[in-house]
């Protein structure tokens, strides 16, 4: 149990990498990159987890009454989820542009076009 969350994060990352490397469609590759990204969130939040703890929000919790999870990793993850989505959008915009210019989104065909 004590390493399962970390191993899950590693597994998700490797699976995403495998998808990226074998993808025949750039849109699918962007989706795989999103999978890789989510692996980092799983890892960070697993590091912050605390046995018997709760969320580090004190609006309905007396400070010091219970252990709380690490807020630093949560803040890092939180910003990256939203910023990561806009970066995904930028990649998709690049794919749309590639398909307009070259008429294909298959990376192998694109390599042949380059010659």
């Amino acid at each position: 149990m004590h390493v399962l969350p970390y191993l899950t994060a590693a597994y998700v990352f490797v699976v995403g990498c495998y998808g990226l490397a074998t993808s025949r469609n750039l849109i699918h590759a962007v989706g795989c990159l999103a999978v890789c990204q989510s692996a980092t969130y799983v890892l960070l939040l697993a590091v912050g987890y605390r046995d018997g703890g709760t969320a580090p929000v004190f609006s309905d919790l007396r400070p010091g009454s219970r252990p709380v999870a690490d807020p630093v990793v949560q803040a890092l993850t939180l910003t990256d989820i939203v910023v990561g989505a806009t970066v995904t959008a930028l990649l998709l915009a690049l794919v749309v542009q590639i398909s307009k210019r070259h008429g294909t989104v298959d990376p192998d065909e694109l390599r042949e076009l380059r010659g």
Binding site: V14, F58, S59, L78
Partner: protein
């Protein structure tokens, strides 16, 4: 390189990476362990500044400068999308036909839209108190607006979404964050230092000094950014067509 050799290379590299990651996982601190030196200090700092939501305190107070960097990435990504997805010279705009929407879908979407929009704004406004904040609330509010596309049609969405206003709002929110940071410099405390405003009463809307202001700036930035992004993609998918024959 032929595909077969490439697959082998991926397999070898992937196996090595997996082995290294697994070895690293076994040496990490135990899952659920109690040793969080940074977390404990962050919680103490947040409480000393009357911020009930520690995560908001980390994002908009203790690591406000880092959040400015994140915001810059977000702004740059949106700018890149706007440039990449603009209407090219060899494209023209086709008017999308008014769509027929099934009555239950229409009723449901139009009923949920205001609720979702208010929820998004609520989540932004209570960022320093309860789980939530500018990043989440901004996305919720912006996607809520697009229920208009589901419930009515594209033309209706365009009417409730003046794109220029949202593009200006995006830039305005980004500069508001900067100006709030510079205000600290002018007041002699430091860039983005949370020392401008009184910390207020713990667990009220006006607590935590500049955190709610920075939070609101980020909320506006994210909401505008998401609306602009979706508008560009919808434009490409629905309206803009290439000249046939190219």
């Amino acid at each position: 390189m032929n595909p077969r050799a490439r697959l082998w290379l991926v397999a070898i590299g992937g196996a090595g990476l997996a082995a290294l990651l697994a070895a690293a996982c076994l040496r990490l601190p135990r899952f659920g362990g109690g040793h969080h030196p940074y977390g404990d200090r962050a919680v103490r700092a947040a409480l000393s500044r009357h911020t009930a939501n520690t995560i908001a305190s980390v994002n908009f107070d203790q690591r406000a400068f880092d959040t400015m960097g994140e915001m810059a990435i977000l702004f740059a990504a949106v700018l890149g999308c706007v440039v990449l997805l603009r209407q090219a010279r060899d494209e023209h705009r086709g008017r999308p036909r008014p769509a027929e929407v099934a009555a239950p879908v229409r009723r449901y979407a139009l009923a949920v839209l205001p609720v979702a929009l208010v929820t998004g704004l609520y989540v932004v406004a209570h960022g320093q108190l309860s789980p939530g904040g500018g990043f989440q609330g901004g996305v919720v509010a912006a996607t809520a607006l697009h229920l208009m596309y589901l419930g009515a049609d594209y033309a209706a969405l365009e009417r409730v979404r003046p794109l220029e206003a949202f593009e200006a709002g995006d830039a305005l929110a980004a500069s508001a964050y900067l100006v709030l940071g510079l205000a600290g410099v002018l007041a002699g405390t430091g860039f983005l230092a949370n020392a401008l405003l009184p910390y207020g009463t713990f667990n009220t809307l006006s607590s935590a000094g500049t955190v709610p202001l920075l939070n609101a700036a980020i909320g506006m930035e994210v909401a505008c950014a998401v609306v602009v992004l979706l508008a560009r993609f919808l434009d490409q998918a629905v309206e803009i067509e290439e000249e046939s024959g190219k």
